[in-house]
Symmetry: C2
């Protein structure tokens, strides 16, 4: 099956073709890379929404309800197709990704406008960020309107994955040691929308207070804006500057979920109207290009250096006979770049 | 003044020569790099101790008391010379580093066996990590026995700076929203010794409990070891495996500081006896070599690419006419490496 046939099948909504393609790009195979190259011009339309939260916040349940809300909007908004990318190294789905997909699929009752993919953890989290980006790009090219990228808000790598998104939603729950979870890894700095899920549980007011306080600490420039115009952070008031709203939901019964979906749509409109959509796109591609350049250069270097030579140099470094800078000079001497061999 | 004369002066304890040299390597000047190369063979003897903690924990005061304790050990241990590197982008010393040094110097009463250097924040934190490493290496080569590297435990970059060290000390204080500070950025995973400073303040028991709980979460393998041998984490019991102790201090009156100094020495002995000292050294040099290689390759690439050419390729990428991989291929085509020009 050639690349163009695969792309045609995927864009026509063929589930099996899509699933196979995702596996190829996840595995970073040669074919997968060729397909990514070919698909790149078809991507760039979808609204990428990162949803991050600690285990126990009911994040997965909220993501499912959000998907339903985008499929069947209550307020006369156009319905949208939704893809869910579940990235959770600590989830029970890990290692049982297919089963996990099926369980969640059943909950979303086989709607052809919803597609779910759980990412298996593949050792390094850096690798996970890479393959999440690749999977997201395929789903974007396949024509899904909204892509919900669900991650655990636990560290730098999750922040990196969240940065993939146009809109970042941070999910909390009452009594989870609130400020700990929220403040962690600078996630509040990148949050566009905050959700307190399980809002029927005790402690919701304390969580809301903690979130608003941390929001104010994280965004001094927005605080200034607020005090100049008599506004308050954490309230949903779209203005010239986006002020992250703090919203309450009870996901299992769908309560408040429509308002979150509406806030996500509004944030998308805000990004498009202010030109920030293009800016975030450019920043993401710039960063992707930079990392790919670095990786390619390191790859070519590794191809040209003999393992024995590296060991000799490293032992001299360890013995402090040469400095790191001198070691680098030695290690690069023998490097011949492929584009020069053919040039 | 030639490089060898500078090195001789620095190793002879000439303060002015040392201060000038530190400024050169901090600025990453050409001379600074040449000196670093030449000094590399003289370094590798000092015990590098990272001390990290949030503002308000009394970390600086503790570091000063620790320095005094190493200079005048109570328990008949050999006295050691001490250098302090204060890295704190948020401290009042920033921008007023020289004044800050003088104030602290006065407190340490002009002891020639103590040297203090405050690092000014230079924009990017990555750059701060690099210049801290360089400054530490100079002080190591200058012959200081113990180098205390004081950082704010606020993010990934501080964890990176802490990784410079053989021994990492994490400082907390009661009632600081304890678990928040401790859990942040995975700092507990890298902590070798935990200190609760200001232990005369209320809430010290709660802080201790929170720290021990978080320690257990951070080190499942040590928990297993403890339960197998009937030990408990947070207690100072040097064994085949290092179990991070949780110690209490009241820095201004020096209370408990001697025990922290003793724990630092014991950890140094533990590292040497188990061979972990060599392993950490090798891991640090491996990582330094890797980053320097990457930076050098990127530098050579940037030297060979015309800015106009980069803009053309990036605009095509933004317009999705080419994929990131195709952009990289285009951007590398023109690259001629300096070692090939001369080869």
């Amino acid at each position: 099956m050639d690349i163009n046939a695969i792309i045609t099948a995927v864009k026509a909504g063929e589930r099996l073709a899509l699933a196979r393609l995702l596996t190829q790009v996840e595995n970073d195979s040669f074919e997968g890379r060729a397909v990514l190259d070919a698909l790149f011009s078809h991507a760039g339309r979808a609204h990428l929404v990162g949803v991050t939260g600690s285990p126990g916040t009911g994040k997965s349940s909220l993501v499912n309800q959000l998907a339903k809300s985008f499929r069947h909007p209550a307020d006369g908004q156009p319905e949208a197709t939704v893809a869910i990318v579940a990235v959770d190294p600590s989830s029970p789905f890990t290692g049982g990704a297919i089963l996990g997909d099926r369980v969640r699929m059943r909950d979303l009752s086989g709607d052809p406008g919803i597609f779910i993919r759980s990412m298996a953890s593949r050792g390094a989290l850096g690798g996970l960020a890479r393959s999440t980006a690749a999977v997201t790009q395929v789903l974007d090219a396949a024509g899904f309107d909204i892509i919900l990228i669900e991650t655990v808000g636990a560290g730098q790598s999750e922040v990196d994955i969240a940065r993939l998104a146009h809109t970042t939603v941070v999910v909390e729950a009452p009594g989870m040691g609130d400020d700990i979870q929220a403040i962690k890894a600078g996630i509040l700095e990148v949050a566009d929308i905050l959700v307190i899920n399980k809002a029927d549980q005790p402690g919701v007011e304390a969580t809301e207070r903690a979130l608003k306080t941390n929001l104010e600490l994280a965004h001094p420039e927005k605080m200034e804006f607020c005090s100049a115009f008599g506004l308050s952070l954490g309230t949903f008031e779209p203005k010239a500057m986006w002020l992250p709203p703090v919203l309450r939901t009870i996901a299992p019964e769908g309560s408040g979920v429509g308002a979150v979906a509406a806030a996500i749509r509004q944030h998308g409109n805000y990004l498009r109207e202010t030109g920030e959509w293009r800016l975030r796109e450019a920043a993401r591609l710039d960063s992707e290009l930079y990392h790919l350049l670095q990786a390619t250069l390191m790859f070519h270097w590794q191809e040209t250096i003999a393992q024995g030579e590296f060991e000799v140099v490293f032992q001299q470094l360890l013995a402090r006979q040469i400095s790191p800078q001198q070691a680098v000079t030695r290690l690069l001497e023998g490097m011949v770049t492929p584009w020069q061999q053919h040039g």
